[in-house]
Point group: C2
Chain length 320, copies 2
């Protein structure tokens, strides 16, 4: 049976893992990953795209499993030399990783678009998955905290997520255009499902959903829209999602995530750990898949991807 | 006996070697090195200062003896990764070396001057020698060749000096201001000598001498001005100086170099290999020191430095 195409919305590590599983299960040319760029920033004059790089490196199997970001077999000689001359080193850039940032920055300053550069990098690094920045226009997540409004990477990396979160702003979002290729991919004839990856709902997925027209476009999509909970057993697999939920006065649970996505979803995928939340999520009008969602190997990534695609088929059969 | 201060004019490797010897012989706080910046260029969006870095790295004993440029114990992981994503790699940037270029570029884009950044780098890397870019303003050597007018680094690195040289232009020279600290150092009370290092006369020394007011300032200097020949036995110790001389219709010899500097010099230092040119150079009105000028060790650098300073004393005694 030929499987249709899938559009996945993704942030960093969790999104990248599921994207890798989906790519394996779907085969060449069937997966489009639309990646959050609201955590992009300029550092040392370089244009850095943390989520985009994590997805790209993971799909090319070049990702660093130890750190969860950057490239495998990385060296840190640049960083060490930078420290010696008194440069900023709070954001760690590996020697090989630097090639991505320097070449991208150079090409962007020469007028090339982020999307075009990303496509070229993906081809050079060896993935046929279509990795699309959510927009070629700059959007910047600002975190409203108890110490003020701070850029996301300052909050996330420099301050290790320690400030208490009160809310988020996506600077530039009003004028950012949803990537036209992403828009097209949502209209493909053989589209089977839209999958919201287990990424941080506030800072990875919300920026994509907040781009002008995206919610409308998702409303027009006739295939199932399915999200995977990034919260398992009340905790985020990685990152500050659960901490953020608590600070925003929300119980960190799969149910809370499902509520947040409420109007956008047809189906929701939760971990077996959270099976008891299933009926409450169904009351929101979402179909629920209870399965193993923790991805620790390529096998578990593929298994989850396969289960989600089967789930989409089930929903799809009764959907229209 | 307290030795006075010395101002050295320098390009890359030859200049850096003699500067190291002078620094050792003169002791702390006595040496100012004014460095050519006309071979600076932008590469991959980074501001690169080849001569300045060679001098700085050499004085800090961090220089790469094998390559003649860059840092010792360098790694090349950035370059390898850049090649893999299709970036330009004709100018080789090492991982540690990149810290210098990235931090400098970042600080320059933030409004800091090249001179101030260089002073900070020297302090951090550990030399007390005053290393001064000849100007904070951009000057760019363009090489007029049989294949057209090309930027110096294209000629020097990318094309390996293969085009035939017809002349040189120093773009921006009319509006470039001689470094005020260099200007001051030429007026210091205890100035003992101005030394033109054994650097390429056309592309390392000529840009410095071509800056507005520099020749006038040197004319006003009351201490001996002494140049060291970069040509030994008709050959350049390093680089294309001899090839350039031939292509410009000039016999590559110490005598030719002395003629080129004619009006600026009080003394000229040649290698023992070229002792037979001594009388012809003296006919130009220059005092001549014949000594070993090839610097292959710190000892030979110090010996040459010492000999030049003694030579300056001799000339100085009869100079005013």
């Amino acid at each position: 049976m030929a499987i249709g195409s899938v559009v996945a919305l993704a942030g960093g590590v969790g999104g990248a893992k599921l994207a890798q599983g989906l790519a394996e299960v779907l085969g060449p040319g069937k997966l489009t990953v639309v990646v959050n760029t609201a955590d992009d920033f300029e550092y040392l004059g370089l244009y850095i795209c943390p989520d985009l790089d994590t997805v790209m490196y993971t799909l090319c199997d070049l990702h660093n499993l130890e750190t969860g970001w950057g490239l495998e077999s990385e060296s840190w000689n640049f960083l060490e030399a930078l420290r010696e001359i008194g440069g900023d080193t709070w954001f760690r850039l590996g020697d090989r990783d630097l090639a991505t940032h320097i070449e991208r920055t150079h090409r962007m300053r020469s007028g090339e678009k982020l999307g075009a550069i990303t496509a070229d990098f993906c081809a050079k690094m060896g993935t046929s998955v279509r990795v699309l920045p959510m927009s070629d226009d700059p959007v910047r997540t600002m975190v409203d905290t108890d110490i003020g409004l701070i850029p996301f990477q300052e909050y996330f990396v420099r301050l290790g997520c320690s400030p208490k979160v009160r809310g988020f702003e996506f600077e530039g979002i009003e004028n950012a255009v949803f990537n036209p290729l992403a828009s097209e991919s949502l209209k493909e004839q053989d589209l089977k499902a839209v999958i919201i990856c287990p990424s941080n709902p506030y800072v990875s997925i919300a920026p994509i959903l907040s781009l002008p027209s995206v919610r409308n476009q998702l409303r027009d999509v006739v295939v199932p829209i399915i999200a995977v909970s990034p919260i398992v057993g009340g905790q985020a697999i990685k990152g500050p999602a659960a901490k953020m939920m608590r600070e925003l006065g929300c119980n960190p649970s799969a149910l809370s995530v499902a509520k947040g996505y409420e109007d956008a979803l047809d189906g929701f995928v939760i971990d077996i750990t959270d099976a008891d939340e299933s009926s409450k999520i169904e009351e929101l009008g979402q179909r629920v898949l209870v399965t193993e969602t923790i991805m620790t190997s390529i096998e578990s990534k593929k298994r989850l991807a396969k289960n989600i695609i089967d789930f989409a088929s089930e929903i799809g059969a009764t959907h229209i």
